[in-house]
């Protein structure tokens, strides 16, 4: 029996809450990046901080606290680029999958 008929026969209802939680789990892990000797989450807060801070530094060097609470000296521009790329890629995938789940009944 395929899953489509299994769902129909069982009169199963799509659980939007569980799907939303599952997507958050799935894509939150993809936002984590190991770069320049530290572990980072491509969060709006970190991206904003690097965007604001980097123009005022010498040689683009910034010291940032990573996910392990270690202060790490990084090339701010390079890290910002990596985090922005990761954020955009992951959020696009997340949004696409969320939109397809939202259309389910």
């Amino acid at each position: 029996m395929n899953t489509a008929s299994l769902i129909t026969d069982a009169k199963a209802r799509f659980s939007h809450n569980s799907a939303k939680a599952y997507l958050k789990d799935k894509f939150s892990s993809k936002l984590i990046v190991a770069e320049q000797g530290g572990l980072w989450t491509a969060s709006p807060a970190l991206i904003s901080f690097l965007s604001v801070q980097t123009p005022f530094t010498i040689d683009d060097n910034v010291i940032v606290i990573d996910n392990f609470d270690n202060p790490v000296q990084v090339d701010g521009k390079a890290l910002l680029k990596k985090l922005q790329d990761t954020y955009n890629t992951v959020m696009n995938e997340w949004h696409a999958e969320w939109a397809s789940l939202e259309s389910k009944r």
């Binding site: 395929n2 659980s15 809450n17 569980s18 789990d25 392990f68 789940l101």
Partner: protein, 267 residues
């Protein structure tokens, strides 16, 4: 630096763990591109198997653990450090369904040892994290452990053996049920002991281990061998009636607690 996956698989009268290990190994080869070594015993190895592991290591397992009226051969996991032929190893439970290359990321994020300390249950968002007991520590999970052969990693596995050998003593101290040995609990204690009775964030995989609980069933959405799409169905009790609910998964690794369900998925 060599990298690979290590699986422990010993059949019991109820489940064929070797068969589970073969399915997991094929998926590890496909999604992670890593060789797989199996640690097993002579009686578990079938005569006719068309899959060849990178290495097969035969040991004499400790069968002194009973769960749900069945022998549960889960002791001896501490031997992973000595038995692994790789410099860097991902030690996995055989009922872990690999559907992506996510596990490769653990090599980038760890110093020399990492495991999960948080989980999420599909269809049960917001379930509290498991603790050893009401007044003890949050449970670490031995389902996925990545380690490098270093002195500290060796100490962790030696400590795991020490906790296993004195399990009832630690159960008494931490007020958990000691009758059935659990690697998760032993790992929680061993890691804390080696870290000087503190938490070390760098030993933690920074995303949740996804569990499929016992009242939840998973079904393949396609018949192909390396299918990554699954439907998860859950019996939800509402006003004295069972209402079935479902979600679909794509490209997500998960750990199946229901072994019978896992066997259905790999058939």
């Amino acid at each position: 630096m060599s990298r690979g996956v290590l699986l422990f698989a010993f059949n019991n009268p109820k489940f064929n763990y070797y068969e589970m290990a073969v399915a997991t190994a094929r998926r590890a080869n496909h999604f992670l591109g890593l060789p797989v070594t199996i640690v097993t015993d002579e009686s578990s190895v079938p005569n006719d198997c068309d899959y060849t592991f990178d290495k097969t290591i035969l040991i004499d397992p400790d069968k002194n653990n009973i769960r749900d009226y069945n022998v549960w051969i889960n002791k001896g996991r501490y031997q992973a450090y000595v038995l692994s032929p790789y410099d860097e190893t991902i030690l996995l439970d055989t009922d872990y369904m690999i559907n992506s290359d996510t596990l490769l990321k653990t090599f980038d994020i760890y110093d020399d040892f990492c495991c999960h300390d948080t989980t999420s249950f599909l269809m049960h968002p917001g379930v509290p994290q498991e603790v050893l007991s009401a007044y003890s520590f949050k449970t670490m999970w031995a389902t996925v452990v990545t380690f490098r052969k270093t002195e500290r990693a060796r100490q962790i596995f030696e400590c795991l053996k020490m906790v296993q050998d004195n399990y009832d003593h630690y159960a008494n101290i931490h007020s958990f049920v000691g009758g059935v040995y659990r690697n998760d609990y032993a790992l929680t204690l061993a890691l804390r002991i080696v870290n000087g009775h503190t938490d070390n964030k760098q030993d933690i995989i920074p995303w949740n281990l996804v569990h499929v609980g016992k009242n939840t069933s998973v079904h393949r959405n396609a018949e192909e061998e390396f299918n990554t799409e699954f439907t998860v169905i859950y019996d939800s009790w509402k006003r004295g009636k069972i209402k079935k609910e479902y979600i679909t998964l794509t490209g997500t690794d998960f750990h199946t607690m229901n072994k019978a369900n896992f066997m259905e998925l790999i058939k």
